[in-house]
């Protein structure tokens, strides 16, 4: 039964391919009866922004510029061979051709499977991102202590 095996994934990277890896492990784990927590911090937060394109989120000039340049889920770069943002689209096409779930489908599945989403308070503070800027799946904005408490008897994976 579920409840015994737990996995916590720290989503630090905002790279498209690494986010895919994180969601693949998360949904696979939840579907095979593990309790899954995803903790989004720094660049990983980009995948959770309500506004999926470039937007001027933030509270001062630097944070607004950072957020605009990084963009949201539609702007996640490939960690290798990004070619100015062209590669993620090519990769998405190759995935579709091979019947592999898209990032959107995986994110939807993660939500349906009841995975817990936490966002990192400290990195949100630096980047001037508020809970209202993030999708509703994010249950709480927490610090590292809460994350570690929740992950007490879990395997922690850092991506």
């Amino acid at each position: 039964m579920s409840g015994h095996k737990k996995i916590s994934i720290v989503c630090f990277s905002g790279d498209f391919d690494k986010m895919l890896a994180a969601y693949t492990i998360a949904t696979g784990a939840a579907a095979t009866n593990r309790e899954v927590t995803m903790f989004f911090t720094f660049w990983g937060l980009n995948a959770l922004k309500k506004n999926q394109g470039h937007s001027w989120l933030g509270k001062d000039f630097l944070s607004r510029m950072f957020n605009f340049l990084m963009g949201g889920k539609n702007n996640l770069p490939l960690s290798r061979l990004n070619f100015g943002g062209a590669s993620p689209k090519l990769m998405a096409g190759m995935m579709k051709k091979n019947n592999v779930a898209s990032l959107d489908e995986l994110m939807e599945a993660a939500s349906a499977l009841g995975i817990r989403f936490y966002a990192c308070e400290m990195s949100m503070h630096i980047l001037g991102v508020t809970k209202e800027d993030l999708i509703d799946d994010v249950q709480e904005v927490v610090g590292v202590a809460t994350f570690l408490n929740e992950s007490e008897d879990a395997h922690i994976i850092f991506i």
Binding site: T32, N33, A101, A109
Partner: protein, 74 residues
């Protein structure tokens, strides 16, 4: 009897589709799943049993593609 064909799905959606379908069903209902040999055949039945379901049967579809039919009771 509910039905699910996951032969065109790839990892991890094979597991995800089965899990979400089972979640929609009531206790005592049955689900027929068509799946490929290898990873899905090895792990879908096991994962179902882990969450308290019973695998009633596993049989080869004999179509030469390695497709199998399993019946799961929630």
């Amino acid at each position: 009897m509910h039905f699910l064909d996951i032969t065109r799905e790839t990892c991890p959606m094979t597991f995800v589709k089965v899990k979400l379908q089972l979640a929609k069903m009531s206790s005592g209902e049955e689900l027929e799943v068509i799946l490929n040999e290898g990873e899905p055949l090895e792990n879908v039945p096991r994962s179902c049993e882990e969450q308290g379901c019973r695998v009633l049967s596993v049989e080869d579809c004999d179509d030469g593609d390695g497709k199998h039919r399993i019946i799961i009771k929630k």
